[in-house]
């Protein structure tokens, strides 16, 4: 190995780290795409991001590596998890295809795009390798700060405007203006009496002596489940468990067992 090649390649330890953690990163990315539930996707993505943070550190970007962990895995991924919890954890993707063959076409497009990218990088002449020892001589953070507050100061200021706009935008999108005064408890009670329906509190969920979980609708006297007993949030997410048929299936199983026993005893008597 000549001197130029030696200067061009990294240490063996870094190579080992790259191959091990690179595999983890690719597996995490694949799991992000192919996991059915959004929570699992979010956790896999968090893993990939931590691996990328390690790669930043290995590449001499110490500040970015720490920022990646604090901002990405700490703040952004937790925001994602928060929204996943808000929207409904068990809400899995529907597997019905709306456009025929879209999935295979998408996979084909992805494969072609990947080949294009890899071929492009392979043909590029990337034979410059200087390393960051010179640039990081006064410390990575100091070097970044010098650049940020001299050459890129205008972009930095505009970033501030962008962040303020984003914060205001998020508030505008999620905040609902209350146009009238909130009703007091007395007014609500009077309204209920005036409307004449559900004077008493709403019925409780669950079928006592069997199930009393909140996601099980209470049964009416004729055995049909009453949606009114389940909380509005669960109703809207479609997370109501139905146990109305369980009693009937239990009865059916009991009858079947009784029949089996009768048949056995009958055949036993016949054989004697």
């Amino acid at each position: 190995m000549n001197a130029q090649l030696a200067a061009y390649s990294t240490s063996t330890g870094e190579a080992f780290q790259f191959w091990v953690l690179g595999t983890v990163a690719v597996i995490g990315a694949l799991c992000t795409v192919f996991m059915k539930k959004a929570v699992h996707s979010a956790l896999c993505l968090a893993g990939t991001m931590i691996v990328l943070a390690v790669f930043y550190l290995a590449n001499g970007a110490y500040f970015l590596g720490v920022v990646q962990i604090v901002v990405y895995t700490g703040a952004i991924m937790m925001l994602f998890l928060f929204v996943v919890m808000l929207v409904g954890v068990t809400a899995a993707d529907s597997l019905r295809e709306t456009i025929k063959g879209q999935r295979w076409l998408a996979l084909l497009c992805g494969l072609g795009f990947g080949i294009l990218l890899v071929a492009g990088i392979g043909n590029a002449s990337l034979n410059e390798f200087n390393g960051l020892t010179e640039a990081n001589a006064n410390g990575n953070v100091e070097g970044l700060a010098t650049l940020l507050f001299s050459k890129y100061v205008f972009a930095f200021e505009i970033t501030g405007a962008l962040l303020i706009t984003a914060a205001v935008g998020a508030m505008v999108l999620t905040h609902r203006e209350r146009t009238e005064r909130a009703k007091t408890q007395r007014e609500l009670a009077e309204q209920r009496v005036r409307e004449g329906k559900h004077l008493p509190p709403l019925p409780a969920p669950g079928v006592y002596a069997r199930h009393n979980a909140v996601d099980i609708a209470g049964l009416l006297p004729d055995g049909t489940p009453s949606e009114l007993t389940v909380s509005k949030t669960l109703r809207e997410r479609g997370q109501i468990r139905d146990v109305s048929t369980e009693a009937i299936s239990d009865l059916k199983a009991l009858e079947q067992r009784a029949k089996d026993r009768l048949e056995r005893t009958n055949s036993g008597e016949a054989s004697q």
């Binding site: 795409v33 970007a61 990081n136 650049l147 997410r237």
Partner: protein
């Protein structure tokens, strides 16, 4: 090891993210795939910064992170308001401009 390998890895991650955006229908997962693509770009910038021996690439990666944070805030707010009006986070259900 050749440091160009970092760029190959970034290309692979970017491709996986792009495929995910095309395949998945859950808006949150699509959004996570976009984050994956942004991260792959950041890895490219950091690797190039090391190859060229100056810190400009890291500065641009830093700005990418700031823009990604702003994007996540607005995007998740849009998803939450979509969920409120349509009771679903699937991108197929958001086919009308107005309810």
């Amino acid at each position: 090891m050749n440091p160009v390998n970092y760029i190959y890895l970034a290309a692979l991650l970017f491709t996986i993210g792009a495929t995910g955006v095309l395949i998945r229908r859950n808006a949150i997962v699509v959004f996570m795939c976009i984050e994956l693509m942004l991260n792959a770009c950041n890895l490219t910038l950091v690797a190039f910064s090391r190859m060229h021996g100056n810190l400009d690439g890291q500065i641009i990666a830093f700005f990418t992170m700031v823009v990604a944070a702003a994007e996540v805030v607005v995007g998740l707010a849009i998803i939450v308001s979509l969920f409120r009006s349509r009771h679903s986070a699937s991108v197929d259900d958001a086919s009308l401009m107005k309810l």
